[in-house]
Amino acid sequence: MRLLICNGSPRGKGSNTALLLKHFTDGFSAYSENSFETAYLMRTKEHAAIAEKARRAQAVIIAFPLYADSMPGIVKEFIETLGAPPPKGRAKKQREFPPMGFIVQSGFPEAVHSRCVERYLEKLARRLNARYIGTVIKGGVEGIQDRPAYFNRRLFMAFRSLGRHFGVTKEFHPITMKKLAGLERFSAVSKFFFRLLATAGLFDSGWNKILKQNGAYERRFDRPYQP
């Protein structure tokens, strides 16, 4: 299978999205007949060429971080290119899109944040007349590059397993998807513990550490646009 991966992170090659994709493609490449190419959507000038590659691939995966409850602007720009009519002078009839899958990762721990964009992506595949493979949702991703390796072991294993299965079936394994999506919303018990830990300042401490390193801690509550 020839797979085109579109990395929709504005952080590009150093992004968390790229890191998750690396493990996905490690699994995918377990079969020697599989090949993939990664396109970076932050290179907006290349969108038309990437869209053409998408039409020629046997499957397309678009992966991005959740930005303001949806896809980053560069991803929306690419989607607008996918929907654009063929350039003048080209044949009216364009090649059909291959099956499309999506990976959405976010900093929030719960999957519920990504459900709206999931609805959008399912509709997008229909709009493009492409088979919808599915949307993999993974929360709690922010900061994974600062964590000790053992912390990410299971996460990366799950992405490799997702990639391996995809490499054979052109499908996302439903059980792996469910495992990755994890918690949909906090239960009453987790809300209780969240409040307990929040009161202890546990969630702010990570931010405070970086703010202090940057000498910005004292200014953390600044309101430069207060009317």
Partner: protein
Amino acid sequence: MNIVILNGNPDPKQKDPDRYINALGADLSAKGHSFQSFQLRDMEIRQCSGCWSCWIKTPGLCAQRDDMPLIYKAVMAADLVIFSSPVIMGFMSALLKRANERFIPLIHPYIALVEGECHHRGRYDRYPGIGILLHRGPDTDDEDIAIITDTYRRVAINFRTALRCAFTTDRPISEVSHAIADL
């Protein structure tokens, strides 16, 4: 009421959405409201690079040097901010989306439980309400409108405010203006 509208129509050849917004502004001004419209396509608005300078280096200030500070000032002084866009490929334009993402300097990195979910804490004490004004494209259906509306309901929660109104430009201007004035 102080109303700010972000016009995310990327195409100057598409006159209808701009005409609608101008007429709506005139109507609201005549009712005594303050109305400011930003034509996003004529402004320099860069993609958020995800650098988080606005959270961890220069709290509240974006590292990019472009026209966003004009919008930040107007938004924080407003009572209602309307995100307006033609529906393109079932969603707000990339232009509007780009401006929308650049709102993160206005909130705080700390996380709090809001409506039982994790959301960012506010940076300011008070935020304007949010509205959306959509211009249907030839391929827009009610499902698209519902997806955008539900998304902006969540955008509003993350902006520590609420979605106060959602309109499409097929509704008469006087009716929309009246509904906004009644908020």
